[in-house]
């Protein structure tokens, strides 16, 4: 069942208008019908009494002289009234004196006159009216009227009413479809603008302002909000760019002095290494390691800064080939760790091949690095989800505490002591940056039976 709250505003307005129309019309029709019936009954009663009076007055002498034939003749005047089922004149003693039986309906006269006045029964309307002569009652006239005419009128009225309601609803539908536009159009336009902004993250869109009413104010407020967001977004982008630029420049310029430190430490070792005592040799090793690690970090940072720096390519990528390239790059690590790698055929994706290779390489490298005691086993698989491809890199390693999830993808974040596992804390940050630049999402889940599964989505390449 469709809920009223879920209906589009246009349909809802139409529905409200039509519902109002129907209710008002129905109430009006019911009131009219009641009035009509009451009025018709009243006129029936009035007519019946007029006939009774007329015949009663004219039959005074006939009643007084007991001339039944004359009364019957007088009663026959009722033939002109089709609705009259019959009439009966009672004498002063209340005995039936003369009858008239109408053509159509059955006439069921009362054997004795009832109290003067009228009464409605299932068989029809009955009126009892006195016949007087010189202020003395000399008899009673009863007339029974068929209500078929009234019911016919009620049916006719109902039929006409239904027709009127249907025509009105049709008219109401057509009119409301047009007349509601000034109300619904700005709301629909606003909703469209909001949806487009949400879908495309395009803050340059503006909702068209139509009129100066509440919706106009709402539209203005919405547009004003978009202006603010657009400015903020631009500012954020600029400061991000500055930051990246700074990181890149810093990393780039730091490379040279670090390389010099490393080089001269090597030269120094070669020249005076033989003269070092045990302690000096240890100090020297610390310095040399530090310089190497610094160099590695700066290189990683530089790589991180370079992601997308030269623009992102968007082309169909053979994902299987990309996995092959990544494993090729990790050839030594795989061999050294004694790892087994399982691969399933993957759907093609759209993106920058170099970056995708690096993404896969980082994830497999992590899987090998954070191994448990058993030989590492890495499984790479993928599936189509909507228009995307979801790729999973599963390992049997040490696993990740779900509480660390938020830290995991941040730059320079490490979950372990420096000595425990090698690394710069940039790998997963790079992965996140690559996936997000491709419009995808990256996350991890615990692997069943220990270890971790890293998952990410990329757009699927259209079939060639």
């Amino acid at each position: 069942m469709i809920r009223l709250d879920d209906l589009p505003i246009r349909r809802r307005l139409t529905l409200v208008i039509l519902a109002t129309c129907s209710v008002v019309l129905l109430v009006a029709i019911v009131l009219l019908a009641i009035f009509e019936i009451v009025d018709y009954r009243r006129s029936l009663v009035r007519d019946a009494f007029v006939w009774a009076d007329l015949i009663g007055t004219n039959s005074q002498a006939a009643l007084a002289f007991g001339d039944k034939d004359a009364v019957v003749t007088l009663l026959k005047a009722l033939r002109a009234e089709e609705s009259v089922e019959g009439a009966r004149v009672y004498d002063a003693a209340g005995e039936p004196f003369a009858d008239y039986v109408g053509a159509a309906s059955p006439f069921t006269p009362s054997p004795r006159p009832e109290a003067d006045g009228h009464r409605f029964s299932r068989s029809g309307l009955e009126v009892f009216s006195p016949v007087t002569l010189d202020d003395k009652r000399i008899g009673t006239i009863a007339i029974q009227v068929d209500l078929g005419g009234m019911y016919q009128r009620v049916w006719l009225f109902s039929g006409v009413s239904i027709a009127v309601v249907l025509v009105s609803l049709l008219l109401g539908f057509v009119l409301s479809t047009h007349l509601q536009r000034p109300i619904s159009a700005p709301i629909v336009a606003l909703a469209d603008a909001a949806r487009t902004v949400a879908e495309r993250r395009d803050y340059t869109i503006r909702a068209p302002a139509l009129g100066r009413n509440e919706i106009g104010v709402l539209t203005d407020a919405f547009n004003h909000m978009l202006v603010t967001i657009e400015a903020r977004a631009a500012e954020l982008q600029r400061s991000n760019q500055e930051l990246e630029q700074f990181a890149y420049v810093a990393a780039h310029d730091l490379q040279e002095p670090v390389r010099m430190i490393s080089s001269y430490l090597q030269l120094l070792e070669r020249r005076v290494g033989t003269h070092f005592d045990e302690r000096s040799r240890q100090y020297f090793a610390y310095a040399s390691n530090g310089a190497d690690r610094m160099g590695e970090m700066i290189r990683s940072l530089l790589d991180y800064s370079r992601i997308g720096r030269d623009g992102d390519r968007r082309e169909p990528v053979d994902t299987d080939k990309a996995v092959g390239a990544a494993l090729e790059n990790l050839h030594l690590e795989v061999q050294r760790s004694g790892a087994t790698v399982s691969r399933r055929p993957l759907p093609r994706v759209v993106g920058d091949e170099t970056q995708i290779v690096r993404l896969l390489q980082n994830l497999v490298s992590n899987a090998l690095k954070f191994r448990g005691t058993a030989p590492p086993h890495v499984t790479i698989s993928g599936r189509r989800v909507g228009g995307s491809v979801e790729i999973a890199v599963a390992d049997n390693g040490i696993g990740i505490n779900p509480q660390d999830g938020s830290k995991l993808f941040a730059l320079f974040q490490r979950l372990h002591r420096v000595g425990a596992y090698p690394g710069t804390g940039i790998g997963l940050a790079s992965c996140k940056k690559i996936v997000e630049r491709h419009g995808g999402r990256i996350w991890f889940e615990p692997n069943q039976g220990g270890g971790t599964v890293f998952l990410f989505t990329l757009s699927e390449a259209p079939d060639v």
Binding site: Q60, A61, A62, A64, F65, A93, F97, R137
Partner: protein, 180 residues
């Protein structure tokens, strides 16, 4: 009044061998008719001294009602007029009456009666078949064992009486010329 109508609707014997009770029933009905005639006849205004002056009914000749007339009119009024009944053998003695019932005993002197009362505003009612034709206003007759009446409108008009159309409708209308 109930009695009047019950009597009126009863058929009456008209044969020669009509029994005593049949005869009394016939006159009970005729008494009621007399009262009803008064209801449907309008006298000229000068016929009554005041709106509640009595309406006088005279019985000329041998009274056949045997008290039925007095019983019928007792306590009755016609348009506020109380009713008085008087009896006489001389038509001139009843010249002040409004309605004179001419008994069957007077059949032989009808012309004399009419000469005496004809031009006055008196509703003359004869208890013989050709009374109206001979110049009276109204007479009883028996038709299909029922009591009916004949009216001579010309005679009524001559006396200044207005007879209600309803009454004329019920009556057999006759004209005086045929009788003379």
């Amino acid at each position: 009044m109930a009695f009047v109508l019950a009597a009126a609707s009863a058929g009456v014997g008209a044969g020669a061998g009509a029994s005593e009770s049949q005869a009394s029933r016939e006159y009970a009905v005729k008494a009621a008719f007399l009262l009803n005639f008064a209801q449907f006849v309008e006298w000229p205004a000068e016929a009554f001294a005041s709106p509640d002056a009595p309406l006088r009914i005279g019985v000329l000749g041998e009274d056949p009602f045997a008290g039925a007339l007095d019983a019928t009119v007792a306590g009755e009024t016609v348009r506020e007029h109380p009713i008085e009944v008087e009896r006489a053998d001389d038509p001139h003695a009843l010249a002040d009456c409004h309605l004179v019932f001419v008994a069957a005993s007077e059949e032989r002197r009808i012309d004399e009666v009419i000469a005496a009362l004809g031009d006055r505003p008196i509703l003359t009612v004869g208890d013989m078949e050709d009374f109206a034709r001979r110049g009276g206003v109204l007479n009883f007759l028996i038709d299909e064992r029922k009591i009916r009446f004949a009216i001579n409108p010309t005679a009524a008009k001559a006396g200044g009486l207005q007879i209600n159309a309803q009454l004329l409708n019920l009556a057999k209308l006759v004209d005086a010329d045929h009788g003379r």
